[in-house]
């Protein structure tokens, strides 16, 4: 599960293609325009490679870090049905990280480098995972709404131009649909359950609405940079488009359950067909992305701990004649 790649606003645009061979660039762009996929050994603009690595890597980090908020409740899931499903769900997040790191590796960055960049903070992951899962109901909301957001984003990206990423996403989307169904089932049981259960899930929705609205990132400034990334099918839809798709699909489902969304301005404008909402606090979004969220430190410390705890195992089995080559995927 994953939100949109966060594009650094300070990055200088217009430098995307300046050093590239125009003939090769034209051929590359024509291939994408024609609906063909780009494969790892193909010629590609430097910036295409760089942006893809960053995006797929952020996505992979989001999966492995995303295993932590829901993992918070893995030992406490109530009853066999939930216990098994949550275990399988968190396992899938680890599986998605495995697939995505492999896809990013095909572009020439090793898994070790990506892990190092995650832990040093050089590379980001989806902001939502810096928020805590305070109660069991939080995991229900995460499984339903965050995974729903992820599907919107991932379905769009699976039609992108880079072969290995698309292949990974197709597999991931199938599994995410289980997460979404499980999450919805879980929320429905709480919302239609006892008074206590209903209060739990209402509180969780209130806590998670802000991260959910942050999930797709701020409105894109339509720069040359963004346009080029869209032409290259690296970015497949604008953040606002995805947020609208999400609201359109899920707000009615939330209201069906009689749950209150903590935004009095949220409504669909019937004449434009678009949802209107209170603009999320993008200053907070930036603050959290840059490290100052409720769980940033814990998430990274736990990831670091897991890497170090398992190191002796990996070191012991490493053969002297081992040789790393980029996987094909």
């Amino acid at each position: 599960m994953y939100g949109n790649a966060y594009i650094d606003p300070d990055q200088t645009p217009n430098k995307l293609t300046q050093d590239e061979d125009p003939a090769r660039l034209a051929e590359f762009e024509a291939r994408i325009e024609g609906g063909d996929k780009i494969e790892p050994k193909d010629w590609m603009p430097k910036e295409y490679r760089k942006q893809l690595i960053r995006m797929i890597e952020q996505h992979a980090h989001s999966e492995i870090i995303g295993a932590l908020p829901e993992g918070t409740w893995i030992t406490r899931a109530p009853g066999f049905r939930r216990k098994l499903a949550l275990m399988a769900k968190v396992q899938d997040e680890v599986g998605h990280a495995q697939l995505l790191y492999s896809a990013a590796e095909t572009l020439g960055k090793s898994r070790e480098e990506m892990i190092n960049d995650l832990i040093s903070g050089k590379s980001k992951y989806s902001n939502v995972f810096n928020y805590p899962a305070e109660t069991w109901a939080d995991t229900a909301i995460i499984s339903w709404l965050i995974d729903a957001g992820a599907i919107v984003n991932q379905l769009a990206n699976s039609k992108g131009s880079y072969g290995p990423y698309c292949r990974a996403l197709e597999r991931i989307c199938v599994e995410e649909s289980f997460h979404l169904k499980y999450g919805h089932d879980n929320v429905v049981f709480l919302a239609t359950g006892t008074k206590t259960q209903r209060e739990m899930v209402q509180d969780a929705l209130i806590r998670w609405w802000k991260p959910v609205m942050h999930f797709f990132g701020p409105s894109d400034n339509i720069s040359v940079h963004t346009k080029t990334l869209m032409k290259w099918k690296v970015k497949m839809a604008s953040n606002d488009e995805m947020r609208q798709t999400f609201l359109n699909m899920y707000v009615p489902k939330i209201w069906d359950l009689g749950l209150v969304i903590p935004d009095p301005n949220l409504k669909k404008n019937e004449s434009t067909g678009l949802w209107e909402y209170t603009e999320p606090d993008w200053e907070e979004f930036k603050r959290v992305i840059n490290g100052d969220g409720p769980c940033n430190k814990e998430r990274l410390a736990v990831r670091k701990y897991a890497e170090e705890k398992g190191r002796w195992v990996r070191k012991a089995l490493l053969r002297k004649d081992a040789e790393y080559v980029t996987p094909l995927v």
Partner: protein
């Protein structure tokens, strides 16, 4: 300072909140193996992805759960990524087929008309 987490697993692991990270070195995550699975006897094996593993035995063990945990698999192959050799996409034009090579297609061979004519001729004798 040790992490006091909402996750009881984390709290009892007594994890230091701020501690320098000893960076992962090259091959810390081992090498990669490409995975091919067969969904049914009689079907061909298909490439499904890769796993990081220290050796082939372990790669098979991992591949079973990474790619086969939702069933639909009866057999797995793994091969070191370095042992797979591929053609170059730059040379993709070698696969382009000229129309004249229809002599390789079964539909190119149409002899029924000739047989029919032959039979008619025989009968008229």
């Amino acid at each position: 300072m040790k992490i006091q987490s909402l996750d009881p697993r984390i709290t009892r692991s007594e994890i230091e909140l701020e501690k320098p990270f000893d960076e992962a070195k090259e091959l810390d995550q081992w090498q990669t193996y490409e995975v091919f699975h067969q969904t049914k006897r009689g079907q061909q094996h298909q490439h499904v992805g890769c796993v990081h593993a220290p050796n082939a035995e372990m790669a098979l063990l991992f591949a079973k759960e990474v790619y086969g945990r939702r069933g639909l698999c009866v057999n797995l192959w793994v091969a070191k990524s370095s042992n797979i050799f591929a053609t170059d996409y730059e040379d993709a034009d070698i696969f382009e087929c000229e129309e004249v090579k229809t002599y390789r297609d079964p539909g190119y061979y149409k002899v029924m008309d000739r047989i029919k004519a032959f039979k008619e001729k025989q009968q008229s004798i």
